[in-house]
Symmetry: C2
Amino acid sequence: MRPAFLVLAAASLSATIVASSRAQEDAAPIFGITLPPGYREWKVISVAHEAGKLNDLRAILGNDIAYKAAREGQLPYPDGSIVARVAWSYEPLPESAEAFGQAQSFVAGKPTNVQFMVKDSTKYASTGGWGFAQFDNNKPAGEAVHNACFACHAIAKGRDLVFNRYAP
Amino acid sequence: MRPAFLVLAAASLSATIVASSRAQEDAAPIFGITLPPGYREWKVISVAHEAGKLNDLRAILGNDIAYKAAREGQLPYPDGSIVARVAWSYEPLPESAEAFGQAQSFVAGKPTNVQFMVKDSTKYASTGGWGFAQFDNNKPAGEAVHNACFACHAIAKGRDLVFNRYAP
């Protein structure tokens, strides 16, 4: 082999290793889910306010499969469904507070984190058919976070683990 | 003319009058806006919680023109923009209250009403380039309601009368 080719092959091998390690870094632990492209523009299933410590405003969005299932009240959700929970800090709208003399209009501030439920009844059979993922600033959260998802969502087992219903 | 034709012509005229009067009934007073088709599936500009008397959760949606302008921070909004404000009653999620021992997760309940802002800088020049409309159960609200829109939205004149910013 000519030296130039060897260098190229080594470079290519090294690039492959980097890409593979990056893919691993981009994927949420346990469930191996990566950030679904375009999720911010998915349709609205519902909206919510989580008070208490988190104190955020959230939109629950669905890819086309999840949105249709939610709208039609189809349970369980079919394979391929992805539900996204986007959240932002809960902030008073200053103009409203001025106009009404009290804070009564609350709006979305900075993004907090994004969570996903991905339906694959075979791959995720041990967690009710759902894989779970949380991303903070586009990076997957740690393993401890992901260990807590299924246990908490089990509260909504009568609705295939999805807390929110479609808001008509 | 033959009597049969006369009857047909009369029936047709009557149908036209009914259709025209129905169109009028479907349109919001003052601004003449009808319910934009498909608005429930538009993309999310932001979400909000209006506390106080209304106490609702809301999604602020945009047609493609409004969504793009909001996302890019383009002010004023271009003609053709339509911003939709969908709202639902603010309800505690029972499963969460059970799990946490207190109501801390609030979700969308029944729909309340839907409001729209339609940008047409010529047609609506006297109200900042925006036409306003509110629909309760798909029927336009009365004139008094529509008289109040512009005065209140003027609070947000620094943002082309749109209260909400794009939530990233």
